[in-house]
């Protein structure tokens, strides 16, 4: 059945009325009668596309580009102003995990209730119950009220239910970004399993890596309009360029974003105790990366991180101070952060260094410098012709 249309969106338009004053009471309505001015905000503007059976379809775009609105129209939560959405397969929409969980009910009761809300019959749920509990890994807690669950447990249970609804067409909004690393991996595995079973997936995400890796096709929304559609790799490249382009690159080619309370003003690299900064080193060299910072005001618990990327876009390493438990209570004024790398395991090539300073939760970005330093690694020891890093293999032939 490959090639059949699983979902079809045809000239979809969705606009919202932005009232100067939201009228939720009769008094306001009467008081504003005739004078209640509003603007129409077009969130999704004449979007048309088909999702074919068995493909993973990505939707990319900035915040506010209409992705979520489009998704909600597809899921039938919002009614479009004009145009149509036709769904030809059993659809499951995962827009929020655990919507409808009741804190006073036990995990078991919530599984039944949540699955029913997602459209499953009782016998079907009973059949899948064990599988759901297995996937969540919450066997010992299943008869406890979910209010006693940690947020991680809550999300695990919710995802376990959602993924077992067994949709032929799955609509997912950013939810792969929840849970700890091992759970995220399990979700991703489930996802890949879904794909290999030939189910159709529509995915909205900010994670360009997963768009490139998972999607067969993608659409790019901007201000509610579909401005491009096609191969995800090309789209992601164009999108990334546009996003970074918007941030105005500096003379040295670096691109800075973030709120700017604290900034990395300069990045230098030194090799083997040589006091002059360099832009190249050799495999196995000992290097020091020196980040100069300047804070406009005192910043609490900043997490400083770097990321080293190959020219091909692969992240080789991305350490930060939180991972090693070295987050200062606050930072102010100016100073330097030295990162000593005793032995560079990179193989010859050109690498880009990006820096970031965020808050403790890694959510709020004070400063992010894309391409803070570009450096070359030259042939050293050991030398290998393929790959990015050396793992210093010991060969023995017999």
């Amino acid at each position: 059945m490959a090639g059949d249309i699983a979902l079809s969106v045809d000239h979809l338009v969705k606009s919202f009325r932005i009232h100067q004053q939201k009228t939720n009471s009769l008094k306001q309505l009467i008081a504003a009668r005739g004078r209640n001015r509003y603007d129409d905000f077009v969130a999704v503007d004449d979007v048309t596309f088909d999702v074919r059976e068995g493909e993973v379809f990505g939707i990319i775009g900035q915040n506010g580009s209409g992705k979520s609105t489009l998704l909600k129209c597809m899921a039938g939560i919002l009614q479009p102003n004009s145009g149509t959405v036709q769904v030809f397969r059993r659809m499951g929409a995962l827009l929020e995990l655990g919507a409808g969980f009741h804190p006073e009910l036990t995990g078991r009761e919530n599984i039944f209730l949540n699955a029913a809300i997602l459209g499953m019959g009782r016998r079907e749920i009973a059949l899948r119950f064990d599988e759901i509990v297995d996937f969540s890994g919450l066997h010992t807690f299943i008869d406890q009220p979910v209010k006693t669950y940690s947020s991680g447990m809550y999300v695990r249970l919710a995802f376990a239910v959602a993924i077992n609804v067994d949709p032929q067409l799955l609509i997912v909004d950013e939810i792969l970004a929840v849970g700890d690393v091992s759970f995220q991996r399990r979700c991703l595995e489930k996802f890949v399993e879904f794909r290999s079973e030939g189910r159709t997936i529509v995915l909205v995400t900010h994670d360009m890596g997963s768009v490139k890796n998972l999607c067969d096709r993608a659409i790019w929304l901007e201000h509610g309009k579909a401005i491009d559609e096609g191969d995800p790799a090309d789209l992601v490249e164009a999108y990334t360029e546009r996003m970074l382009g918007g941030a105005a690159p500096a003379a040295d080619g670096s691109v800075r974003r973030g709120s700017g309370e604290i900034r990395i003003t300069e990045v230098e690299m030194f090799t083997q105790g040589d006091p002059t900064p360099v832009k190249r080193c050799r495999t196995s060299d000992s290097i020091v990366l020196r980040l100069h910072y300047q804070a406009e005001k005192t910043v609490p618990q900043p997490v400083i991180g770097i990321e080293i990327q190959s020219l091909g876009g692969a992240t080789v390493t991305a350490p930060n101070t939180r991972d090693v438990g070295m987050v200062p209570p606050n930072m102010s004024g100016t100073g330097v952060v030295d990162i000593t790398i005793p032995r560079v395991d990179l193989l010859p090539g050109t690498y880009d260094l990006h820096t970031s300073i965020t808050d403790f939760n890694r959510a709020y970005v004070y400063d992010h410098v894309q391409l803070a330093l570009r450096f070359d690694v030259m042939t050293g020891k050991p030398y290998e012709t393929g790959g990015l890093v050396t793992m210093r293999p010991q060969w023995s032939l017999s």
């Binding site: 309505l29 939560i77 009614q79 929409a93 006073e104 039944f112 029913a116 459209g119």
Partner: protein, 259 residues
């Protein structure tokens, strides 16, 4: 199929969570009408010095039982309508994120409250039997009347909870209107004792009054309500339900946007 399951589980949730954190739990749902009944009995007997009218032909002459016969169904109506409004409003998180039939948020309240009404009615039957009545004879017709009453209540609850999403005033307005309705309904008084003709007609044929009269016929007087009244109630229930369903159906696609 799946949606029937949803209704079942939502109703179960309503029943399970209502008294989850209270010590007396379910007893509260019984204590509420009993305390109301005691208050009215004391006021009418000792403050106003009234005597209850005798049921015809049952001969029953008892304030507490008369009050309970009207209070239990009245409370069903009043609690269902106000809880349904809250339930839809509290369902915002769900409505904005999941596609499901929104009316189940109302139906589940009706079902849960109806179960409560039936349990309370069992207790009332025990009390009536102890007072020398034979209420079981009237069970079939009572269930028909209860059914019509539930349909009527569902219609009102649907209309109110849909309107309340758009204007939160509706819930405050309704708490006043339902109080007025309570006094316009012969729950705590006897219709023959009303002095003013107009008021007697309101109590007898008003939308809620006409139901309560039928409940009194069956439970207190021990007689069959007139066919004309049952017919009137059926039309009233059908019309109210249809109107409520129409309003809800019109408005519910816009819930997610409005919430």
């Amino acid at each position: 199929m799946a949606h029937r399951n949803l209704l079942y589980l939502l109703s179960l949730k309503e029943l399970r969570t209502r008294y989850k954190k209270s010590v007396l739990g379910w007893a509260w749902s019984l204590l509420n009408p009993i305390s109301q009944m005691l208050i009215f009995t004391i006021i009418f007997t000792y403050v106003f010095g009234q005597n209850p009218l005798a049921g015809d032909p049952s001969g029953l002459k008892n304030f507490p039982l008369y009050f309970l016969c009207g209070l239990l169904p009245w409370n069903f109506f009043a609690i269902t309508t106000s809880t349904a409004m809250g339930n839809v409003q509290n369902g915002a998180g769900l409505i904005k994120k999941v596609t499901f039939p929104h009316e189940h948020l109302v139906f589940s309240v009706v079902v849960a409250q109806f179960v409560t009404l039936l349990i309370e009615t069992i207790i009332l039957f025990v009390a009536l039997t102890l007072a020398g009545q034979t209420p079981l004879v009237w069970l079939p017709i009572l269930l028909v009347l209860y059914g019509l009453w539930a349909l009527f209540t569902t219609g009102v609850a649907l209309a109110l909870s849909a309107a309340n999403v758009f204007f939160h005033d509706v819930q405050y307005l309704w708490s006043i209107v339902s109080q007025l309705l309570f006094y316009a309904t012969p729950v705590i008084y006897f219709i023959p004792l009303i002095k003013l003709d107009a008021l007697r007609n309101v109590a007898n044929y008003g939308p809620t009054g006409s139901f309560i009269v039928a409940f009194h016929d069956v439970l207190y007087d021990g007689r069959m309500p007139s066919i004309a009244r049952v017919g009137y109630l059926a039309v009233l229930a059908a019309f109210t339900l249809a109107a409520g369903a129409w309003i809800f159906g019109k408005l519910s696609p816009r819930f997610a946007e409005q919430m």
